[in-house]
């Protein structure tokens, strides 16, 4: 499957550099790749300038662009309008609307599905920040419903019970952008080739244990580092090994990062956890059960937001870590039964 291509790239300034494949991350890319993703159409002229060559409202650049606006921020799981307002007041850059936070899904078991649209809409009315919602892996109708009610981002999430045993949703067909989980580079690039405009490392949701989030971020970083120093032949071999698209892998190698925004998720429970993930190189953090399963949710939420901005300032981190009350109790991932791990869902 061809990788997603941002439409109508405009970096006309660098027409003298070598042609290259498009990058959704134009302004962040390496100088040599920057703005070279012009499609082979005639450059726009002053009087006959064209609009985007396809639907201007669903281009990949617009989808990936919202994720870029979320960078450096915290996206919080909320289950009602009251929590959503609390998250917004705390400085969350977006909220994830869902019926049960992962810790409860884990505890209660059963099949976890898309939330009631009425509850998502109530949250959308309650706050002005972007609202995301989760659909089951491969459940394209849940995705259609979420798009129809106008959520800003769809999370095709392993936290819910998968609906398709073999495939993920073809996300390029949707106007609403998607975020998907990954444990490693191959998984991330498979999701991007399906149309995901944002990636999050999976971690282990609902545990409050950051170890799996760290593991997944380390894995992605290490694989990108390996790709960056690989020859073209080795890259092809690596693409087979990772079961991912060669061109996307090559782009990662060149950018030395994923070609879309990458947040950390799954087990972040404290300001220090958030700063740890930021120092490892993620672009922002998702906090699920960690906030509303703790003693003083408002205070903890604010503290995690401050820690994500000032992730490299230990003095600020110390200040915001003081007196947060009870953290969520949590589950130790190391002693967990493999079968209980949500991260295994998705392919």
């Amino acid at each position: 499957m061809p990788p997603p291509t941002p439409i109508n790239d405009t970096g006309r300034l660098n027409s003298n550099v070598e042609p290259d494949r498009p990058s959704a991350f134009r302004s962040q890319s390496h100088r040599a790749t920057n703005g070279t993703s012009e499609p082979p159409q005639a450059p726009a002229k002053k009087t006959t300038a064209t609009m985007s060559s396809s639907d201007p409202q669903s281009s990949f650049a617009v989808k990936a662009g919202l994720a870029q606006m979320l960078k450096g921020g915290v996206i919080m799981d909320v289950v009602n309008a009251e929590q959503a307002r609390l998250a917004e007041e705390a400085g969350a850059c977006a909220v994830m609307a869902l019926e049960r936070v992962p810790a409860d899904i884990r505890a209660q078991g059963g099949v976890a599905r898309m939330s009631d649209p009425a509850m998502i809409q109530e949250i959308m009315r309650a706050v002005t920040i972007p609202v995301m919602a989760k659909a089951r892996i491969g459940h394209l109708v849940e995705c259609q419903i979420l798009q129809a009610i106008g959520v800003d981002y769809i999370d095709e999430s392993e936290v819910l019970t998968p609906a398709d045993p073999t495939n993920h949703v073809d996300k390029s067909k949707f106007a609403t952008p998607f975020v998907c989980g990954c444990r490693n580079l191959g998984e991330a690039l498979r999701r991007i080739s399906e149309g995901a405009a944002m990636i999050r490392t999976k971690g282990e949701a609902g545990t409050g244990d950051v170890v799996e989030a760290v593991r997944h971020m380390q894995t992605v970083n290490a694989e990108i580092a390996r790709a960056s120093s690989a020859s073209d032949a080795d890259l092809r071999q690596m693409a087979r090994e990772l079961e991912c698209d060669y061109a996307l892998l090559k782009e990662c190698a060149k950018l030395k990062r994923l070609p879309v925004v990458n947040f950390a998720a799954g087990g972040i429970a404290t300001p220090a956890d958030a700063a740890l993930m930021m120092q490892m190189g993620c672009d922002g953090v998702f906090v699920g059960s960690g906030i509303f399963k703790s003693g003083d949710a408002a205070k903890r939420a604010k503290a995690i937001v401050q820690a994500t901005t000032h992730y490299n300032d230990p003095k600020v981190l110390a200040e915001v870590s003081i007196g947060l009350g009870e953290a969520m109790v949590g589950i130790n991932c190391m002693s967990m039964d493999e079968g209980n791990k949500l991260q295994k869902r998705g392919w």
Binding site: D9, G11, R12, L13, N14, N16, S27, Q28, S29, H30, A32, N34, G35, S37, A44, K45, K46, T50, M51, S52, D55, P56, Q57, S59, A61, V62, G65, L66, Q68, M69, L70, K71, G72, G73, R85, E88, E89, G91, A92, C93, T128, I129, P130, G150, D152, A175, N221, I224, R226, K254, K256, R257, Q279, G281, K302, V305, Q306, T309, Y311, N312
Partner: protein, 348 residues
Amino acid sequence: MTGSPTSTITIGVLALQGAFAEHITLLRQAADDLHRFQIVERDDWRSQSAHADGHADADGDAADANADSGDRRASGSHPIKINSSCASSSTKNGDVTLPLDSDFDSDFDFDLIEVRTPASLARCDGLIIPGGESTSISLIASRTGLLEPLREFVKVQRRPTWGTCAGLILLAESANKSKASGQELIGGLDVRVQRNYFGRQVESFEADLLLPALLGEEGDVFHTVFIRAPVVEAVLTPDSFVGDGDGEGEGEVPLAAPTTDDAVVVAPAKQATKAPVEILGRLPGRAKTIRDQTTNAADLGEDGDIVAVKQGNVFGTAFHPELTGDGRIHAWWLREVVKAVRERQMGP
């Protein structure tokens, strides 16, 4: 305070939340595309930006690729020195044809830094407030003790400041459709913006705009990206400050936000400016619905929504030049900053 009469110009990008790394990359590119600068990186930048994902290139461009991931490993601010090494007027990459003028006669350096603290803001000669979530940026700024220093920077010291999208909202004197409990603004532009004017993310779009005020009459179209974007809904005259735009309000700037259904918020007053609000870019109303390839925004011939404004030292765009890879507006703005610094140094 910077104010040092040296030839170093410090440009800050507010790095509390949002697409700040993109701005730094494009600022660097803008300077580079003018072909009058050499990137000279400080040693600490290089050593701090090396990290696990294998960044070890020795060439100056390496930092560009790593602007995002590299930045975060360094503490505090991360200066990149860009020296102007020659006074020639040659440009490369044909499309960049900004004329040189006397502002550029002498050598100067650009120091590009991320701003997270009042101390780093105080070093800046110019500031960009990036796209992001305006509520997040405002709350984090307030808790970091940056809101008042920012108002001082923009509205008292009158340093050049540019806001994109969320940044435009924060630089407006008034904004509506804010969150339930309101939102703190920095202010500086006597305009009222409407947040999320076009709607939610599925209403986000791209459009090619002519921006002759910024890029010259002969300038090529600028490809713009609007993401949950605001527009400038009204230019505020001194007696329309109550935020309803009906011109019937008192001449005084209210200190508190009027509570209306539209959740209008206003920025606290500082020193007023006599500079007029200049409208530098408009988006024709139907531009975002154009699906064919033969029409452009200008052909529609409407006045359209205001998407770029300037008032004295403050500049705002509703769209995201930082997402396009096109550094022309950044180049234009850098030149504005140079002029402002020169004027300040000539001073009264």
